[in-house]
Amino acid sequence: MSALLEVSGVSVSFDGFRAINNLSFSIGPAELRAIIGPNGAGKTTFMDIVTGKTRPDAGTVTFGDRPLSLLSMTEAQIARAGVGRKFQRPTVFEDQTVHENLIMALRAPRSPWRVLFWREGAQDRANVAALAEEVGLSDALARKAGELSHGQKQWLEIGMLLAQEPRLLLVDEPAAGMTLAEREHTTRLLVEMAKTRAVVVVEHDMDFVRRLDCKVTVLHEGAVLAEGSLDHVTRNQQVIDVYLGRG
């Protein structure tokens, strides 16, 4: 199985500080992967590089069947190519309704001219209704996103990601600030999504990672320290030293 995302030999430094150091990483087209690591290990920078927010000093990042280099693309082009990103803090457009938020995210032409003449059809309404159902916001479609609770905003953002129909999903600490029941729902949804696409979850919470039951990549000082099942990496002496052992 060829990889969907292939990151190889990537390095980036900020003012002399090496945030990412010769990092290589790859994920298949339908795979769930957790990335763990202590603070400053380069998890967020890694996501910034893949989504085009940060340009690496060296290395290559390719994506897709006919590999595209993501390094020469803008954030918007990368998003259109099929990379979705969920932020740690829920970022939804609070001044607009849940419906408007989802409509904006729905897969459709993105150029200003096409968007100007775009009008909502029956199919779009059905899609929005289905998405809202999936993330449990059916009753809240007409409400302003700013009125939602923290957990509901997380759900809305997940719904917006689903609406984009990405082939690769980067999820930053999805369980932060969620109740136990919400966490279980999130876990189910992530596992479900990973059946048809690649999902990368960055997470601090070991219990949550254990629940995901997937391959784990441990980052440390901007490079991969270990990779394998959670049990495998937690037995790794280096991992214990830099990360787990401190607890």
């Binding site: 989504t51 927010k53 803008t74 954030e75 918007a76 082009q77 998003a79 259109r80 979705g84 990103r85 932020f87 970022t91 457009f93 609070e94 001044d95 607009q96 408007e100 409509i103 904006m104 995210a105 993105r110 150029s111 200003p112 001219w113 968007v115 100007l116 775009w118 009008r119 909502e120 309404r125 009753d139 809240a140 409400r143 009125e147 917006m160 984009q164």
Partner: protein, 410 residues
């Protein structure tokens, strides 16, 4: 959601209705078509105010909706005025020159007429040749195309450079101010080809309509300005009502997030910037024939700042707010600065409003920004709030009048 555009945007119908009633009322009170209650100069003031409302609408789209505080839109407004002014001045001078030469023994040649026009227009800056930029000035339609093209292309080039470099916030505002100032300084030069600080004058005289009185012309321009404002309102209401409006408001609130949704933020900003520049230019092209004169002082940076003040006082982020702000502030302003407001004697000092008006305007701007960010248009919320109190949250029960969820908690 399958309801018509007007049903979803009731403010459009209301706006057009109020505008129509207003225009009809002024017409019936005018010197030319009614009971001569409103003077011609005041009809012109009202017509000009409508043009300022139109440019305020454009400002609201770019600032209130897209979040780009452009302090250069009055430059596009003035450029539109200059472009149409060139034709007005050329064609009008041509009439005069042809009439003067007709008294001669020999029929005038085309070259003589051209020379006569050039001397008439440019004698004041010591030139006798028409500058190359006047090459289209003889044709109304050509020059009208330039009203759209010149500000449009300037906005495209400027916007492309600024937005591509991801200049945002106050830095972008400063850049637009610099653009305005540079343009004004350029036009102040005598060899800019637009008569330096003399500007273009006599624009109130329409070529071919020499025997139509200003009384009637002023009302015609009022109609044209009202029609333009109505159309502009409907167009912008349509632009902001759909997904496009959603996207630009999202750009205002969090542009990085919009990029991750796959929208090219720079493209949207450029689109809105250029569209509003063209609307501003058309408003200017209607404004200056009513003002009669345009000179580079019209491009002064302060003019664009006033535009932002109108929109802020009126209430940005909704179209009628911009119109209310522009109309209210410019009319009150012309009242105060017209010397018709009695002085306020304080005993130790007499407040003369002509001098103190700027201070009052500045203080009200600060007050509105601090205490009523919704501006004058927020009063509508207050009024609608009286009719249907904001009970917050969704109904708890299916019946009308069921407790709202947050109300129940309080």
């Amino acid at each position: 959601m399958s309801r018509s555009f007007f049903a979803r945007n009731p403010s459009v119908l209301w706006f057009i209705l109020i505008l129509a009633v207003f225009t009809l009322a002024v017409t019936l009170l005018s010197d030319a078509y009614g009971v001569a209650f409103v003077s011609t100069s005041f009809v012109k003031t009202l017509g000009k105010t409508l043009c300022l409302c139109l440019v305020a609408l454009a400002m609201d789209l770019i600032w209130g909706y897209a979040g780009i505080l452009s302090l250069g839109h009055m430059a596009f407004f003035a450029l539109g005025g200059y472009m149409l002014g060139m034709w007005l001045m050329y064609a009008r001078t041509e009439e005069i020159v042809v009439a003067a030469l007709a008294e001669g023994v020999l029929p005038a040649t085309a070259e003589e007429i051209r020379q006569g026009i050039a001397t008439q227009i440019f004698g004041v800056v010591g030139a006798s040749e028409l500058p190359p930029i006047w090459v289209f000035a003889h044709g109304f339609w050509l020059q009208l195309a330039l009203v759209v093209a010149v500000p449009g292309v300037l906005a495209l080039v400027f916007g492309w450079l600024a937005f591509r470099a991801r200049v945002t916030g106050v830095y972008l505002s400063i850049l637009t101010q610099a653009m305005t100032l540079a343009l004004a300084l350029y036009l102040f030069q005598n060899d800019s080809g637009l008569r330096g600080n003399n500007g273009l004058s006599g624009l109130q005289n329409l070529p071919g309509l020499g025997d139509v009185s200003q009384d009637r012309l002023s009302v015609w321009f009022l109609w044209a300005s009202a029609a333009a404002l109505g159309l502009g309102y409907a167009l912008l209401a349509w632009v902001v009502s759909g997904k496009f409006g959603s996207v630009i408001r999202a750009i205002r609130d969090d542009e990085q997030r919009v990029r991750f949704l796959g929208y090219t933020v720079e493209g949207y900003k450029l689109f809105v910037f250029s569209l509003t520049a063209v609307i501003a230019a058309l408003a200017g092209a209607l404004y200056y024939p009513q003002a009669g004169i345009i000179n580079p002082a019209e491009l002064a940076p302060i003019a664009s700042i006033y535009l932002a003040v109108w929109v802020a006082i009126g209430g940005r982020g909704r179209l009628y707010g911009a119109v209310i702000g522009a109309a209210f502030v410019t009319l009150v302003s012309s009242w105060f600065t017209g010397g018709r407001v009695p002085d306020l004697p304080l005993g130790f000092y007499t407040v003369q409003w002509v001098d103190w008006w700027s201070v009052v305007l500045g203080l009200s701007f600060v007050a509105v920004t601090l205490f009523a960010p919704k501006g004058l248009a927020g009063l509508f919320d207050l009024w609608q709030g009286l009719r249907a109190p904001n009970r917050r949250g969704a109904p708890l029960g299916p019946d009308d009048g069921a407790l709202m969820e947050r109300e129940a908690r309080e």
